[in-house]
Symmetry: D2
Subunit: 342 residues, 4 copies
Amino acid sequence: MNDFLNDYNQTVHPSLLKSFIAINNKKLAGYGLDEYCKQAITNIQKRLQSPHADVHFMPGGTITNLTVISHILKPYQAVIAANTGHINVHETGAIEATGHKVISVPTADGKLTPELIEPVLFHHSDEHMVQPKLIYISNTTELGTIYSQQDLKNLYQYCQKNRLFLYLDGARLAMALAAKDNDLTLPDLAKYTDVFYIGGTKVGAFAGEMVIFNNLSINQDFRFSMKQKGAILAKSWIVAVQMNELMQNDLYFQLGQHSNNMADKLKIVFEKAGLTFASKPQTNQLFVNFPNQLAEKIIAHYAVDNLGPIDDHNCCLRFCTSWSTQIDEIDRLDRLLQSWLS
Amino acid sequence: MNDFLNDYNQTVHPSLLKSFIAINNKKLAGYGLDEYCKQAITNIQKRLQSPHADVHFMPGGTITNLTVISHILKPYQAVIAANTGHINVHETGAIEATGHKVISVPTADGKLTPELIEPVLFHHSDEHMVQPKLIYISNTTELGTIYSQQDLKNLYQYCQKNRLFLYLDGARLAMALAAKDNDLTLPDLAKYTDVFYIGGTKVGAFAGEMVIFNNLSINQDFRFSMKQKGAILAKSWIVAVQMNELMQNDLYFQLGQHSNNMADKLKIVFEKAGLTFASKPQTNQLFVNFPNQLAEKIIAHYAVDNLGPIDDHNCCLRFCTSWSTQIDEIDRLDRLLQSWLS
Amino acid sequence: MNDFLNDYNQTVHPSLLKSFIAINNKKLAGYGLDEYCKQAITNIQKRLQSPHADVHFMPGGTITNLTVISHILKPYQAVIAANTGHINVHETGAIEATGHKVISVPTADGKLTPELIEPVLFHHSDEHMVQPKLIYISNTTELGTIYSQQDLKNLYQYCQKNRLFLYLDGARLAMALAAKDNDLTLPDLAKYTDVFYIGGTKVGAFAGEMVIFNNLSINQDFRFSMKQKGAILAKSWIVAVQMNELMQNDLYFQLGQHSNNMADKLKIVFEKAGLTFASKPQTNQLFVNFPNQLAEKIIAHYAVDNLGPIDDHNCCLRFCTSWSTQIDEIDRLDRLLQSWLS
Amino acid sequence: MNDFLNDYNQTVHPSLLKSFIAINNKKLAGYGLDEYCKQAITNIQKRLQSPHADVHFMPGGTITNLTVISHILKPYQAVIAANTGHINVHETGAIEATGHKVISVPTADGKLTPELIEPVLFHHSDEHMVQPKLIYISNTTELGTIYSQQDLKNLYQYCQKNRLFLYLDGARLAMALAAKDNDLTLPDLAKYTDVFYIGGTKVGAFAGEMVIFNNLSINQDFRFSMKQKGAILAKSWIVAVQMNELMQNDLYFQLGQHSNNMADKLKIVFEKAGLTFASKPQTNQLFVNFPNQLAEKIIAHYAVDNLGPIDDHNCCLRFCTSWSTQIDEIDRLDRLLQSWLS
C-alpha cells in the first residue's frame, strides 16, 4: 500500500538506532536518573540558552499532554485550546479524564490569538464557571500551520498579563522550526512559553518526547505526577539517547526539513492537478480538497486520512509526509494523478 | 432591592413548611430508607404511570447532574449538551471533574435535536475520540424555551436507534409543564427519557430534587454513587416530605404556572416599552434586549442577570420570576419603565 | 421500633425550626451571599477569636470532607487517617474518587498521634509513592473518643514541623467539646488546625455543616471547588440560620451535652448488666460487648448498629444517643435488660 | 558501581535488538494495527491455547495496571491487593488517581488467598462503603514468592463464586514460571484469571508489556481506555516485535530462568555468610537480613534496595538479579563478603 497516512509509520532513523546499539552493554540507573538522561538535559539546556530549564523524558504525546496539564491545574481550572487542538479532539478525553474542562475556541487556521482568548476570559467571571488558567497550543498546529515569533510573543505576553500559563505541544516541532516561513528559534520557546515539549515519535524516534519547563513555579514534584500517570519509563535512557542523537548536528531540524520538502513537492503536484487546499500548506501536512470521484480513486490506491465531506461534491484528504518519505513516492503519485486527469 | 434575579430567592412555600413541621417529632430511618421517602416514591410512580420507576432524593441540581452522569458513563464516554446547557457552562466543570467530556453543540434556542446530534456522532468514529453515549437536555432550557412532546419523542427515538441514553434536567420542570405551549405530561417523561429529575429548589422547596430512572439497565448500585459523591442526605426525608406536598393537589404545577403567569405579565410590560427578546418568551425567564442607557437604569434599581453586550449599543438582561413573585412587583417595574421612557 | 441507631433520626430542633420560619418571607441572595450567611460568619469568627477565619456552609459531612480534601491536595498527594476514620471506611471511596489515596493507620482508640504518623512519613520517601500532605482526624472519633488540648497541640506542631496540613472532621464536635474529659475550646480549634468543620446534622440541624479555614494559604478559590462538587446550596442561608441559632446561647454545646448525658446514663445501665465496652465511653457513642444470645434479643427489640463478632461467643453493638433522646428510653432499656438477665 | 538494584538496568537483549533492526525499513500501520502486532496476538493465543484471548500492547507496568483496572471498575468499586502489592505502594497512587480505592490486606508472603479476602467482603456490606470487585495479585509477588497452580485455581474459583474479577500483574511472570517450585503454565493463566499481563521490561525488552483479557465481558472498548490514558504507542509494533522474539524458542522463560539461577547462586553466597532471608527465596529477588554494620559495607560497594530497619541492630536489603547478570558478579560479592567476615 502506498502511504501518506502519517509521520510515524517507520520504526526509527538509522542514526538513532546506531546510538541505541552503542550503549546496549551498559548498566544504567532507572527512571531517568542515568548518565544519558543527564547528558540530554545539559545538551538541551545549552541549545535553549536556558541553564535552569527542567527537562523530563516521556514515552508519547498524549501521556505528555495529560501529565503536564493535570500537574499544573487546580481541580477547578481549565485549559483553553483551539477546537482543532489535539487535546480537544484526538485524545479520547484524556484531559477531562484527569478532571479538567477543555474550553475549545473556533479558529480560522488552528492558531490561538489573544483576540480569540479574550472573550473566553470575559465570560468566565465567577465560581459558577471553570477558571481558565492554561493556554494549549500546538506548533505545527493540527492544520499544518505555524506560529511566528511575533505570534508566540504576543500570546505569551497576553498570558503573563492575565496570569495564564502557556503550554506548547511540539509533537511536530521539527517541522515547524524547519518551515520556510518560520522565524522561531529554540531559545524563543524557552523565553515565550511556560512549558513545551520536543516531539520525537514523529521525527524518527521509535518513541519519546522531551518536556521542558521554563517556568520553575509550576514544575515542583513533577516526577510524582509522571510516576502516577505511568509516564516515566523504567529505561528512560532509551528516549534520552535518541534525543541526544537528534539534537547532535541538527539532525532533528534536517528531518523536519526533509518532511517539509517532500510536502512542498507534493503541493506542486496537487497544484498542477488544479486542486486547492483547505489549510495553508506550510509544513508536512497537506489538507487537499478533492472532487468526490477523484478522492475515491486516491483512497483506492493510498492510505490517507479522510476528513469527510466539504460539500455535496467535494471532500478533504490529508497527505502527510515524513522524515522517511522518498522522492519517488511523490513522483508516483504525480504520474497517477496525471493519468486520471488526462 | 427589587429583585428579578432568580427563582430561588425565598426560603420555602408555606405548605411545604407546614408538612415539614408536622413530622418534626418522629424518629425516622436515615439515608432515604424512611416511610416518607417510600411514600414519595409510590406517589411519583403513580403520577408517572410507571410502577417500576427507580426514585432517589438529592440535595441540589449540580450534584444531581454529576452523580447521574458519572454513574451512567464509562470512563471514555462523553455527554452531548447544548452549548448553553447548565452542565456545560454553569457547574464549574462538575462533569469533567468526574472524568467525562461534555461535547457542546451550538443551538438556536437552547434545544437539542437529532439533526444537531447527527454530525457529532459522525465525527466521533474511533478510539482516538471520546465515545458519545448520553444526551443531556434541560426542560425548560437555560433560555426559557420548552420541548414539545414531539420534540422529546423524536430525540428519544433517535437515542434508542443510536444506543444513546437521554437525560433530562428538570430544575425548572414545573415551569415547562405549566407553559401555555406545553403538551408534555409526566407519563411522557417516563416514556421518553432514560432518566430525569424533578426540581424542587426553584419551585418552592428549600432544597431538593427527585431523580427518576426509567431505564432500569443503568441505575444498578446508584446509591453507591450517591453516597460517594456526598449526594445523599442523612435526613433524606426532608426532600421527600416536600416532594409529597408539591405533588399533592398539583401544587407543583400551580407554582410553575404562577411563575409563568408573572413572566407573561412582565413580557407585556417590556413589549409596551418597545423592547424585544433574545429568546422566545415561553416560561419564567425573559431575555430582554436593552439599549445600554436603559439597561444601566434597570441595573441601578434591580437585581437582574446581565448577560453582556449584544452589540456596541445594546445588551441582554435576564428577568426571572418565581412562585413567590407578586403582581405589584410587576406593576412597579411597569411604572418605572414608563417614567424613564416618557 | 426503639432506636439507638444514630444521632440524625429526628428532623430538627424546635429552636432551629423557629428561626427558619422567622425568615420565610424574606428575599435573599443565593449561594451563600445573603445577610444570614454573613451574620453566621461574623458570629463564628468571634467565638473562635479569629477575625480572619474563612467560613463556608455545606449540606453534609461526606461532601464537606471530599470538597475540602480535594481542594487542598495536589494530584499526587495523600491524606493520612486512622483506619477507623470516616473517610477511610464509610464514604464509599469519596476521597479516592477525587483522585487521592487515603493512607490508613491502625490505632488503639481511633486517634492519630505523631508516633503513629512518623513511620508513614519515613516510608514515603520518593516519587514512586504518594506524598503524604494532610492529616485527617475526627473529634469525636468514630469510636466515641476525644482529643485533649494537648493531643491536638502535639499533632498540630508535628504537622507544622513536617509541612503537613491538619484537618478536623467535626461531625460530632458538639459532643466532643461537651464531654466531661474535654479541655478543648473553639479558639483552640482555630489555633491548632488548618481547617475544620462544625457539624450540624448530628446536633439538631436538618442538614448543614460549617467549614472553617484557619490557614489562609490553602483556601484560595474554595468557592470554585464547592460549586464544582455540588457542595453549595442555592439557599445556603438555610444552613447559616441554623448555625446562628445553634451558636446563640450555646445551644450547640447544650445539645452535645444532652447527648453525652444520655449516653452516660446508658453506660451505667450496661455496667449494671455486667457488660464491657470495646472503646472507652466518653461521648454519645457506646460500643458494647455482648454475648451473642443477649445481642440477638437486643437486635430483636432495638435498631442499633451491629459491628460484628469479636470472637465466637461475643459481638459488639453500637448504641448512639442524640439531642432528642429521652430519659425514659434509657429506663425502658434498663428494665428490659434486667428482665432478660434475672 | 556494582549493581543488584533491579532487573531493568540494561537496555535490551541482543536477540530482541536484532528483530527490531530487521524491520526498520518497513512502513507499518500505527496504534497496534500492523502485521507484527497481529502476529504477536496469534502467537500468544496459541501459547495460551486460547484462540479468543484479547491481546494489547502497552509501554510499561504502571500504565498497564491503571488502564486495566480503571477500565474494569465502576466508579464506586474497589480493588483488593496485598499491602505489599505494587499498586498499593509503588505507583504513587496511580489507581486512586483514576478514582478507585485500593483495599490493602496484610499478608505473610505477599500472596492473597480466599481466607484473606473473605473478611474484606464481609465488612463491605452496603453502599456506605466501596464495593470490592477486583482482586489484584502479582506473580512473582513483590516479595519474590510465587503462586502455585492450586493457589491460583483456588483464588479464581473464589472470585467466580463471589462475582469478583481476578487480575494478575506479570511484570516478573517469566521468573515466576521459570521458578523451581512452579507448576503454573501459560494456559493456566488463561484459564484461571480474567485478565493478566506478560511483562517485558524486566525480561530483556527495552519497554513493553502484553495485556491479555481472558474474560471477554470486561474488555469492551478497551482501546478507548488505552488511548485516553496515553497507554497506546503510535509505533506499538516495537512492543509486539520484542514479544514475538521473547516467545519464540522460549527465550522468555530462559531469561526468567537465568535470572532465577543467578539469584540461587547468590542465595548460597548469603547462606554461606550465615545470613537469613525476610522472604522465602523463590525467584530473582532476595530479601536479606543484615546486621547494620555489614549492611553499611554492602551499601558502600553496591547499588541495592534498602528496605529499612527490622530492629535496632538489623536491616533488610533487596538483591535483584536479571537476564543480564553474570556469574562473576556473584563471585565478586562472594569474595567481598568472605573478606569482611573473616
